[in-house]
């Protein structure tokens, strides 16, 4: 039963992979051709050796941006999540709603002011110009806060009684107990950064700084779109994230937390 559901989910992607190996005219053919009548492995070759589009470089850019954006995000989300979850200070709810509210405005609306700001900081068309705004996620802070909330207060209290400093508590207790949540935000944020099109579209002006989604969208020409190549690029973009997901989800399953006080 679940296998059927799984197949439904994966079917369009299988179609995508198969279509990336078709000739352009077969991708859209009527009647529908499921398997490529002629196998076109050249599409992948074309993508990576394309004269005008330096995909290897785009992949490198995407990797650099993704790694740093995710690292910064994990750092910010875990400490802020802990701060909001376990400390009762004045303005906690208010500031939390402020953070949440950053999720509630569509990115299209803040693009122009953000771009002007990034330009003024001299970060336009640079890695930092991509990394810094892309490292922020109200959702990840939300997630960490919810998970850390469910860590029993007693654990923290007893550590305090034992004389541990706040930072020590954070590093030695909270972080190990939040492994599942941290893996989750890595997965979520990574795929968001990796697939983000709208911000690099505005910030990046020189071809060598492009990220992968930007590269893929360029294939959509005015008069002619080489579908096999575009789909091949799309498939290649999924591959790294998929591998990472499989790796992390294995870790996910084995990281079942056992709470409860030893005492």
């Amino acid at each position: 039963m679940l296998i059927i559901i799984g197949l439904i989910f994966i079917f369009p992607i299988i179609w995508m992979v198969l279509s990336s190996l078709k000739l352009n005219k077969d991708v859209l053919a009527i009647p529908i051709k499921f398997l490529p009548p002629t196998w076109n492995f050249k599409s992948y070759y074309n993508v990576f050796t394309s004269q005008g589009y330096d995909f290897p470089r785009y992949f490198l850019n995407s990797v650099i941006v993704a790694i740093f954006a995710v690292l910064i995000n994990v750092f910010l989300s875990t400490i802020a999540g802990y701060g909001f979850a376990k400390y009762k200070f004045k303005g906690n709810s208010f500031l939390f709603i402020v953070i949440l509210s950053t999720m509630m405005i569509p990115f299209q609306s803040i693009i122009i002011p953000l771009f002007v700001l990034i330009k003024k900081m001299g970060l336009a068309n640079s890695y930092l110009g991509l990394i810094l705004p892309e490292s922020l996620s109200g959702f990840c802070i939300f997630l960490m806060r919810q998970f850390i909330k469910s860590i029993p207060d007693e654990v923290i209290e007893s550590a305090r009684v034992d004389g541990a400093s706040e930072f020590r508590i954070f590093f030695s207790i909270i972080i190990p107990m939040s492994k599942l949540a941290i893996i989750s935000i890595i997965i979520f944020h990574l795929q968001w950064v990796w697939n983000l099109l709208i911000w690099p579209l505005i910030v990046i002006t020189s071809p060598e700084m492009r990220t992968v989604p930007l590269g893929i969208s360029l294939f959509s020409g005015v008069y002619f779109t080489p579908y096999p190549e575009q789909l091949a690029a799309g498939v290649s973009a999924i591959a790294p994230i998929l591998l990472l997901y499989i790796f992390l989800s294995r870790y996910f399953q084995t990281s079942i937390n056992i709470t409860g006080l030893k005492e």
Binding site: N24, K25, L28, A29, I30, S50, Q51, G52, D54, R57, I64, F68, L71, I72, F75, I112, F115, V116, K119, M121, G122, L123, A124, N125, S126, Y127, L128, I131, S165, F167, R168, F171, L201, I202, T205, S206, P207, E208, M209, S217, L218, S220, G221, V222, Y223, F224, T225, P226
Partner: protein, 457 residues
């Protein structure tokens, strides 16, 4: 204590990594030799203080030029840039390619934030906005080596600066980059299939057009598997341009805002709309759900005709399965007692931005890159420069007489700073009739309300 150290060391580590990588990133962009040719050099400016050109011995003037991406022409322009830089060693030309729908937006973003932008090319529908909002420079004759504006205008075919969108309010701002007009295209192999003569049975009126299309429409079990005609209903610009031609053929003025608005009170407007929407609703020759892009659909043999192709389509057709010899462009059909006007004439224009710090060199570059019409024509793209060799036109643009002869009779498209809004409103009017089943009369009424609102708000 130890914990504080751990926290701060982590912080320091992260920050150092960021800084290192951005410096490396800065170097990496200068070091990487892209395959795209020498024109696209390091435009990446990273952290403050890493200014690239200031203080460097060669003091190069940098010209940033924005255009839409369209293979195979991208490589041609990169070569032009390379040659220009070889001839002028103190100039650096950087071409930024963007997908066509994004290019005007990118230009506007650069203008609003004072980004690097010297010159750009846009189509005539978008260009009025730039000219009306005082963002571009008037043509500078000295950069072309001429004394007067008229001499510059005379470098191109008469009227072409206007058609391509370089003229606004009595002033000239842009030089032609490409000129085209839509003609009708038909698949002659399909004609032969249904017993039509590919020469004698070419439709000259819209009634004939529908009849011919009907014969070539293929249905399988109630579903159309080959349209007799198709256009992309999702991209409002194409239905808008076809409808503009129909409206103008009926004697209405759709080239100006006021003309368009007042035409909506006339019965001819309803007739024109009815003709168009009928193709989908009553004539049964067009299923908008069969595919989206008609240039693709026609190339894949899924529609027998389409109405939005210029001479450049020959080059595009090579990438598709339908063979060039099975295809023929022909004059836009007319209404029986309508005006003798053909498909929409349009083009791309190249302009210099007001914020450019090197306006003369920007014009020089534009002049240079537009001076190779004989190279560009090999892809089927027509540039109306007088140095274009007519023999080459005949060679690379089969049936060029359909295009070149029709150009003077082309429909003049709407010039308006609110072009996008109006085109969307018209697209919605067409959409309402076809997908919602609204009557043509009611849709025109609603369109009138919408356009009035757009023009007065």
């Amino acid at each position: 204590m130890k914990k504080l150290i751990t926290l701060s060391t982590v912080l320091i580590l992260v920050v150092t990594l960021i800084i290192t990588f951005s410096i490396v990133g800065c170097k990496a962009t200068t070091a990487t030799a892209t395959t795209a040719g020498a024109a696209t050099t390091a435009g990446a400016v990273t952290t403050a203080g890493a200014a690239t050109t200031a203080g460097v011995a060669t003091q190069k003037i940098k010209i940033t030029y924005v255009r839409w991406t369209q293979p195979p022409y991208d490589d041609m322009y990169l070569k032009f840039a390379k040659d220009f830089m070889a001839k002028n060693p103190n100039i650096e030309v950087e071409i930024l390619f963007y997908p066509d729908p994004d290019a005007p937006g990118k230009v506007k973003t650069a203008m609003s934030s004072g980004g690097a932008l010297d010159c750009f090319s846009v189509n005539n529908f978008e260009s009025s906005w730039f000219m009306a909002n005082n963002t571009v420079e008037e043509i500078m004759p000295s950069a072309f080596g001429k004394q007067s504006l008229q001499e510059v205008i005379d470098m191109w075919e008469p009227g072409s600066l206007k058609v391509t969108g370089g003229f606004y309010n009595d002033k000239y701002y842009g030089i032609p980059e490409e000129e085209a007009n839509y003609s009708a295209w038909i698949n002659t192999a399909y004609m032969k299939e249904v017993g039509l003569d590919p020469v004698k049975d070419i439709p000259t009126t819209w009634d004939e057009f529908v009849n011919v299309a009907k014969k070539m429409t293929v249905k399988k079990g109630g579903t159309i598997t080959r349209d007799g005609f198709a256009t992309n209903l999702k991209a409002s610009v194409f239905p808008f341009l076809i409808l503009s031609a129909l409206m103008e053929q009926k004697g209405l003025d759709w080239s100006t805002e006021q003309g368009l608005l007042s035409s909506l009170d006339k019965p001819e407007a309803i007739e024109a709309l009815k003709t168009f929407t009928g193709w989908a609703t009553t004539d049964g020759i067009w299923d908008p759900g069969l595919f989206d892009d008609e240039r693709e659909g026609f190339g894949n043999g899924k529609t027998a005709t389409f109405l939005t192709g210029g001479s450049w389509y020959w080059g595009v057709l090579k990438q598709y399965s339908v063979k060039n010899e099975d295809v023929m462009p022909f004059k836009y059909p007319r209404f029986k007692d309508g005006k003798d006007i053909g498909g929409v004439g349009y083009g791309y224009t190249s302009m210099v931005a007001k914020q450019s710090k090197n306006k003369e060199w920007a014009w020089k570059w534009l002049d240079y890159m537009s001076s190779f019409p004989n190279v560009i024509i090999t892809g089927g793209l027509y540039q109306p420069r007088k140095t274009l060799d007519p023999a080459l036109v005949k060679q690379y643009v089969p049936n060029s007489d359909v295009f070149v002869n029709e150009l003077p009779k082309a429909t003049v498209a709407l010039t308006s700073t609110k072009f996008n809004e109006i085109k969307d409103a018209v697209g919605a009017a067409i959409d309402r009739v076809i997908t919602k089943g609204m009557s043509n009369e009611d849709s025109i009424k609603q369109l009138k309300i919408d356009v009035t609102q757009i023009l007065t708000k």
